[in-house]
Symmetry: C2
Subunit: 205 residues, 2 copies
């Protein structure tokens, strides 16, 4: 990781803990191991660092979305997978996804930073809603829709079923972001949530 990248990395760490306004250019420089004025050789000003973080995230998520679409369009193969999805496998899948979002360093820091800055301007509000509302609901809606098609789940309203699946996961994630010591408790609730979801929409009805 070169200096320019290291600046983004350390800035993201600080922004995600204290928020943009509470982080000083000198703080970032300290952590990078240079003096504040040197930082201006890499970025025009403090705001440019913040913008570069947002850009980098947009790049990553677009990339990820593309990768998901490639898998997602192969509906026949996916349907076959979901048809054979036992409760245990669903549980494992949900837990892995949750832990990825919780523990992946970049994802976690970015989510916390955006949580702090979401009211700062309309643009950031949109980014937040796209990443944590619209994209997850549409992607998971597609997956759950496949499971409905495969007869594994039953509903006449996939959108609300998706909300019922995702909202508790999102909620538990925000708890862990705020108080990491509640991770164990949250994981336990996550398991129970998925098990109950499976029972409500799935095999027993």
């Amino acid at each position: 990781m070169n200096t320019k990248e290291k600046i983004l990395d350390e800035a993201l760490t600080l922004f995600s803990e204290k928020g943009y306004a509470n982080v000083f250019v000198g703080d970032i420089a300290d952590r990078v191991g240079i003096k504040a004025p040197s930082l201006y050789k890499h970025y025009k000003n403090k705001k440019a660092i913040f913008d570069a973080i947002i850009d980098e995230m947009n790049r990553r998520f677009t990339e990820q979305a593309k990768a998901l679409q490639i898998n997602g369009t192969d509906a026949e193969a996916d349907a076959e997978i979901y048809r054979n999805l036992s409760e245990d496998k669903l549980l494992k899948l949900g837990r892995e996804l949750f832990l990825y979002y919780l523990h992946d360093d970049y994802t976690r820091r970015f989510r916390k930073m955006l949580t702090i800055e979401q009211f700062h301007d309309k643009e950031l509000a949109k980014v937040y809603s796209r990443l944590y509302v619209d994209d997850p609901l549409s992607y998971q809606g597609m997956l759950l829709g496949l499971m409905v098609s495969a007869g594994v789940l039953k509903t006449d309203n996939v959108d609300i079923m998706t909300l019922h699946f995702y909202a508790p996961i999102y909620y538990l994630l925000t708890i862990c972001d705020r108080e990491p010591e509640r991770e164990e408790q949250s994981l336990k609730m996550l398991d129970e949530h998925i098990r109950q979801f499976d029972r409500l929409y799935g095999r027993e009805s």
Copy 2:
């Protein structure tokens, strides 16, 4: 409203939009209609204004909690109410609660401020979790528990049922806080959520 109260009020408005660090003492004074130095006759410093807001909220919520407990302990009368709760009434109740939390000026501004400041220190994280996790889950858990006792709802895990009821409501609320123009869409989803919740846990099973 005297000057001292007006300072808290305007400060809360600004803090909830920009966050503590982005609000200057002069900004608050401007909105109150005085000059910055006059403000120091009412509060020792900027931090004291913030602390006073937190204290005032603690006062209000403790008061509210007491009032709720008085009703809540009369389980017999409540059970009677919930036994006769039709889907339409549940819908109306949920919608009213949601709109209260969304539109009540004090509640909304405080929630947004705390959202921005929740990672700033452990104390604020705890306040957030108490107000938006532990208290609602325990209060609504009690109400839903009564409905289970009354035979209106069925589950072997009231905690998860409560999570399934509350998490989508919380989630929709955060969407409206961030993008008020999505209120109509969110209210529609709220209705569908409650209706579906009622179907999953209620009469049809």
